[in-house]
């Protein structure tokens, strides 16, 4: 069953029929497994990875290190929720090390990052400090290399 989701993770457009052929299991079994995973939110969403700058749309990514004060009952969860609920936040992780939350933001321009940090994030009472790192260049995202090296030509036939 794990292999159904490996195929889908690599290609969200793979149909149950195709997956059934690839794995040699009945279509109905594949459909059932997918439905169950969707209901359990094991499949969160079907998305497409887009390299926006190639389509002429600029975007700005930043990683913000956030130090926070944990709450007595809920630890980091409550403050994390207040932060990740902002639509600017693309990903949010609780991390070990010198800061607590790693926040990845994706916005239209630098101005938006700065207003997000100064107006939304920093003023939260449990936020002690923030350090913002702007991304200068994207080499690999979601497991995909953005500029893959030139394809080598294999011999079209070999015995």
């Amino acid at each position: 069953m794990k292999r159904i989701f490996e195929i889908l993770e690599d290609d969200a457009r793979a149909t149950p029929e195709q997956i059934s052929t690839m794995l040699g299991i009945p279509v109905s079994k594949v459909e059932e497994a997918i439905k169950k995973a969707e209901q359990a939110r094991a499949i969160l969403k079907y998305k497409t990875i887009i390299d926006w700058p190639k389509l002429g749309k600029e975007e700005v990514w930043a990683l913000i290190e956030v130090r926070v004060t944990p709450q007595r009952d809920r630890g980091f969860d409550a403050i994390a929720e207040r932060i990740y609920s902002f639509p600017q936040v693309y990903s949010a992780y609780l991390v070990s090390g010198t800061y607590d939350l790693a926040i990845l933001v994706r916005v239209k321009n630098m101005q938006e990052v700065s207003s997000f940090v100064t107006e939304k994030l920093a003023p939260l009472e449990d936020v002690q400090s923030t350090v913002t790192h702007f991304f200068l260049r994207r080499y690999k995202a979601d497991g995909e290399i953005t500029e893959p090296p030139e394809e080598f030509k294999r011999l079209p036939i070999t015995l």
Partner: protein, 401 residues
């Protein structure tokens, strides 16, 4: 006064030795020329992984170059590599080989094949091989002075070579049984039981078995049986293996021979004078492959397995009966019901639909009526090829009425 001639007076042919002259160029050379002059071809003719060597393996080779590992190694190959191989055989097959005396690192499995023939054959000695089989078997036997004796295999038997078909072909001159399973071109895999019968035969007639197990790691839903691990035949088995297929390392040219010390010594005598040693960078890469390449194999096998099922189903759906191959990365569908020979089929398919496949006849008489199709190519290519082939088969079936 010196005379400058543009060519020798005798015909060039007379300079070429008879043995080489007798070897016909690969049957698909004409086909290859046709292919290289055609645009937009989807090729199912590829005999190597479509993956690039995993990064950690390439990285290990780069590091070794930076550190200055650019020298000769022992004729046998780096001891560290031989030790890793010994561990590998212990782990996978419970077989113990002495890395000092029973392992030789070769320039691809191809060199191992050549060495094993040259080290054992006297003129006229006979070598039993399956038909169809890998294209190099017969020429390597002939070049070493031996005589290939083919044993027909059929799609009804899933292209395995049967001990009962071998036995009647054994003569006083028979010295070797040369087998290669999983098979290129058919994708056939032999079970432990079937191999055991051959092992018994080898013992009964005192024959040497050379087992080409280059595709050992590419099996689907079945287990590969290492011939040397069968009861009683370790000492009379020469095992050929390599890194090309399991770790996608074809261009590195690195393989190995594992056998009793007497055989390894004999082969090393040839290897030391003709090759000296396998390139050190390839050996460094191979060490890394053995140490941490298992996940890569698992990933590639999963990927091949998906494509394999898509291809087999695809061929059966378009009316080209295809037995289910359990190894390597080839399918071997029958094209007999199109009324064409394998060559006609392959040539017309290339010209009319721009799909390249290899005529089965390139691999022996018994390959007639079949084509070899490789799934070492992305799924999208396979699906496109199947679409075009479906159209092709349909058209020709109609035109025959």
């Amino acid at each position: 006064m010196s005379r400058i001639k543009s060519a020798p007076a005798k015909p060039f042919d007379s300079f070429i030795c008879q043995k080489v002259d007798g070897i016909s160029p690969s049957g698909i050379r004409k086909f290859f020329e046709l292919l290289s002059s055609t645009e937009g071809v989807v090729s199912l003719g590829i005999g190597e992984p479509d993956f690039v060597t995993p990064w950690h393996i390439r990285e290990a080779a780069i590091r070794s170059l930076q550190q200055g590992y650019t020298m000769y190694t022992s004729n046998y190959g780096l001891l560290e590599l031989r030790k890793e191989l010994a561990k590998y055989f212990e782990l996978h097959y419970g077989l113990s080989y002495d890395p000092q005396r029973e392992i030789l690192i070769t320039v691809g499995t191809s060199e191992g094949l050549d060495l094993s023939m040259r080290a054992t054959l006297n003129p006229g000695d006979e070598v039993i091989i399956p038909d169809p089989c890998y294209v190099a078997y017969s020429p390597c036997i002939v070049l070493a002075g031996g005589v290939p004796v083919t044993v027909p295999t059929t799609s009804e038997n899933d292209f395995i070579i049967k001990a009962s078909d071998i036995e009647p072909r054994i003569t006083k001159r028979t010295k070797i049984i040369l087998i290669g399973y999983p098979s290129n071109p058919t994708g056939a895999v032999m079970s432990r039981g079937e191999l055991n019968e051959i092992a018994e035969l080898a013992q009964q007639y005192d024959l040497l078995v050379i087992s080409d197990e280059i595709y050992a790691r590419l099996v689907y839903g079945v287990e590969h049986t290492c011939f040397a691990g069968l009861p009683g035949v370790r000492e009379q088995t020469i095992l050929l293996g390599g890194f090309s297929k399991s770790y996608a390392m074809t261009g590195w040219r690195i393989g190995y021979v594992v056998a009793n010390n007497q055989f390894i010594e004999a082969m090393t005598r040839i290897h030391q004078y003709t090759m000296l040693c396998t390139p050190i960078m390839a050996q460094m890469a191979a060490i890394e492959a053995l140490k941490s390449g298992e996940d890569d194999i698992e990933m590639m096998v999963k990927e091949y397995d998906k494509r394999r099922r898509v291809m087999v189903k695809g061929f059966n759906d378009i009316g080209l009966p295809c037995f289910e191959p359990k190894g390597a990365f080839f399918t071997f569908p029958s094209i007999e019901n199109t009324g064409m020979t394998s060559e006609e089929f392959s040539e017309k398919l290339l010209m009319e639909e721009k799909v390249a496949v290899i005529p089965g006849s390139a691999f022996g008489q018994c390959g007639r009526g079949f084509i070899r199709c490789s799934y070492a190519t992305p799924l999208a290519n396979i699906e496109e090829a199947l679409k075009r082939m479906g159209k092709f088969v349909n058209k020709h079936r109609k035109s025959r009425g």
